[in-house]
């Protein structure tokens, strides 16, 4: 076997290319604004984007089986709002209990979505669109018609975001834990490989004895679980709970996955890609005001970036296909 050159390896692997882009981005921004590359600034960036980063893991699983979930931020609002209200009216005060409740609500929402999609054969976009309305409205009902749970009402729960273990915020430890667990889960466990198998070819997976419907149910439950976790983290990082939190944020999560190379049609995408995708989005959001671009332009730049990434992907794929064809003709 011939050994590939390093240049070819980098341009051939999506993740390496993304990593290079991320490093370039970091370099450019820190040259223009030295205050960017400090420990505090980077940890703040990670903390503020913790929700998107964690939930892009769930979206990775969902998109791997060829689905999509746009109800996640409503699940987040429902679970976050529930614990916010429970803390406010002092039904609970323990941080662990609050987390457990948020996770349970999130998983239950995911189970419901998964059942509707896998058992009743409703197209994912339609089902999750319906649940997007339903869960958001439920979050609103839980909040007694629009009440907020402010920082004072949250008691010791908000300390979770400010507590540090080994010099790093708890929130960042949660992100690291999630990514490590998912890296192993997707790469080396049987279930993780089954998710890839279903995404690549559902019929082949079915024939080879994988219960496709259960795998589909599972990925939406994972998504719901992470949305519940996101809800708890959102409430503790921003020290407030309101029914309209992260409205429209699901698009950021999908965008992070798409930039990270996760295919919409399923079967393609890695945990590393999701990480790099969400990091690139987070860096851009943080860097724009630092390099003197009006934050108003942030959304436009984000949209153009997604478009450029997906179009570049198609162009590269076409070039690759053509050169492969050339090789065969000779």
């Amino acid at each position: 076997m011939e050994k590939k050159s390093i240049v070819k390896k980098i341009t051939g692997s999506r993740e390496a290319l993304l990593a290079v882009i991320l490093i370039l981005l970091f370099a450019v921004v820190s040259v223009i604004s030295p205050s960017f590359l400090t420990v505090k600034s980077v940890t703040d960036m990670l903390k503020n984007n913790a929700v998107t980063m964690i939930m892009s893991l769930g979206m990775l699983c969902v998109m791997l089986v060829g689905g999509i979930d746009i109800s996640i931020m409503s699940t987040l609002a429902l679970s976050g709002m529930s614990i916010g209200m429970l803390l406010k009216y002092e039904y609970i005060s323990n941080t662990v209990v609050a987390f457990a409740i948020a996770l349970a609500i999130g998983t239950a929402c995911g189970l419901l979505v998964g059942l509707v999609i896998s058992r009743a054969d409703v197209p994912p976009i339609i089902a999750t669109m319906g649940f997007m309305y339903v869960f958001r409205a439920m979050g609103y009902l839980v909040s007694n018609g629009g009440e907020w749970a402010s920082a004072a009402a949250l008691g010791s729960f908000k300390d979770f975001a400010t507590t540090k273990i080994l010099g790093l915020s708890c929130v960042i430890w949660v992100i690291i834990l999630c990514y490590v667990v998912f890296f192993f889960f997707m790469k080396w466990t049987r279930t993780g490989r089954k998710i890839y198998a279903v995404g690549s070819n559902a019929n082949a997976a079915e024939v080879s004895g994988i219960n496709v419907r259960n795998i589909k149910l599972l990925v939406y439950m994972i998504m719901g679980f992470l949305a519940g976790l996101g809800g708890a983290i959102q409430v503790s990082v921003y020290a407030s709970a309101m029914p309209d939190m992260q409205l429209g944020g699901e698009m950021d999560v999908i965008a992070a996955c798409v930039i990270g190379g996760v295919s919409m049609s399923g079967g393609r995408g890695t945990v590393l890609g999701a990480l790099l995708g969400s990091l690139i989005l987070a860096t851009i959001a943080k860097a724009l005001p630092l390099v003197g671009i009006d934050p108003l332009a942030q959304n436009t730049i984000k949209g153009v970036l997604i478009l450029v990434v997906v179009v570049a992907n198609v162009v590269l794929q076409r070039v690759a296909d053509r050169s492969a064809l050339k090789g065969r003709e000779m």
């Binding site: 999509i68 509707v116 058992r119 009743a120 054969d121 409703v122 197209p123 976009i125 339609i126 089902a127 669109m129 319906g130 649940f131 997007m132 309305y133 339903v134 958001r136 409205a137 439920m138 609103y140 009902l141 018609g145 029914p243 429209g248 698009m251 999908i254 965008a255 798409v258 919409m264 049609s265 009006d294 108003l296 332009a297 942030q298 959304n299 436009t300 730049i301 984000k302 949209g303 153009v304 997604i306 478009l307 997906v310 179009v311 198609v314 162009v315 794929q317």
Partner: protein
């Protein structure tokens, strides 16, 4: 079968009356009557007069449902329409504030919409491998982003000269113009989709794109036209939105794409393509409009209305599937 609704409760009906009753459209008509009875019982203010007065706000979204139905029949989706509405509303307010004649304002909204739609269409036809969901997700962020840049830090604009918009919100007797326009447009769109060659081609593409391509249909041309028309209609919708609020802000049109898709899907148009017709879509649109007016009159919060809509949407798609599965299971047992 193309043209027929994607869903039906009973697939072996005997008499024509039974056939009509058990078709999805028949069920929708019954639901429509039930919703109206419910609203009349629920709110003492609910009558034809108040319905006609409060309808226009919700009717603007029905415009979006019409081309959205075409896109769904193609088996695709466009989630950028809400942002196009926002951009068109912003631009039309800006042109209006320069003191330009109202005709120019209308032209601006339609042209901006058409341009946005053609951007979607151009990218999607140039790079056919791209899923429409992702492309329109990106353009959704871009179009609203452009509107945000134009609106600046204030985030809102109001039309200084509202005469033109007032004219648009006018009435014949007690029937608002917009209702006439919705009905006329619905008939045009339904006839083109159901009866013309163009419409049959749309169904053919939705059923099997490759077969359609090999049988000589200009698949990409048709897709481009439909996405462009979607943009134009978004511009039209934006005009009517401005004519009810006399202004625009960064959240104008938020969630309109979802409402339009919900109306179409609830009306029996399958999101996987090739199935459904506009009759169902129009009936379901009016069900939703009536429901919103009726519940709104008793100050039911918008979120609760969305909750009901969400459940209706999921139920409408899930129930026929579940019934089908139960029937199949019973047959196997026999």
């Amino acid at each position: 079968m193309a043209g027929k609704s994607g869903r039906s409760i009973n697939n072996v009906p005997e008499s024509p009356i039974k056939k009509m009753l058990f078709s999805w459209e028949g069920i929708l008509v019954i639901v429509f009557i039930l919703v109206n009875i419910f609203c009349a019982c629920f709110s003492e203010f609910y009558n034809l007069k108040s319905l006609l007065r409060q309808m226009p706000v919700y009717l603007a979204e029905v415009f979006l449902m019409l081309p959205m139905a075409y896109i769904l029949v193609l088996g695709e989706i466009d989630i950028s329409v809400g942002s196009i509405v926002c951009l068109c509303a912003t631009m039309s307010c800006i042109v209006c504030n320069t003191g330009a004649p109202f005709v120019l304002v209308v032209i601006t909204a339609l042209v901006v919409g058409t341009l946005c739609g053609s951007v979607n269409g151009f990218i999607l036809t140039r790079f056919q491998e791209l899923p429409p969901m992702i492309v329109t997700l990106a353009t959704q962020i871009i179009f609203r982003g452009i509107a945000e840049i134009i609106l600046g830090s204030g985030g809102s604009i109001s039309a200084s000269n509202t005469d033109g918009f007032r004219l648009l919100a006018g009435k014949v007797g007690s029937v608002p113009y917009i209702l006439f326009l919705v009905v006329i447009m619905a008939v045009i769109f339904a006839v083109i989709l159901g009866k013309s060659t163009f419409g049959r081609r749309v169904y053919a593409i939705g059923t099997n794109r490759l077969t359609a391509y090999y049988s000589g249909i200009h698949v990409q041309k048709i897709r481009f036209i439909i996405y462009t028309v979607m943009g134009t209609i978004s511009g039209l919708c934006a005009l009517f939105i401005v004519s009810t609020s006399y202004g625009a802000n960064t959240t104008t049109g938020n969630g309109f794409e979802m409402d339009a898709i919900a109306m179409a899907v609830f009306g029996g148009i399958s999101s996987t393509g090739g199935k459904g017709n506009l009759a169902g879509g129009v009936i379901s649109a009016f069900i939703i409009v009536c429901l919103r007016v009726g519940l709104g009159q008793r100050n039911v919060h918008a979120q609760v209305i969305l909750l009901i809509l969400g459940l209706l949407l999921i139920g409408a798609v899930a129930l026929p599937n579940i019934i089908g599965q139960v029937k199949k299971a019973m047959k196997v047992k026999k």
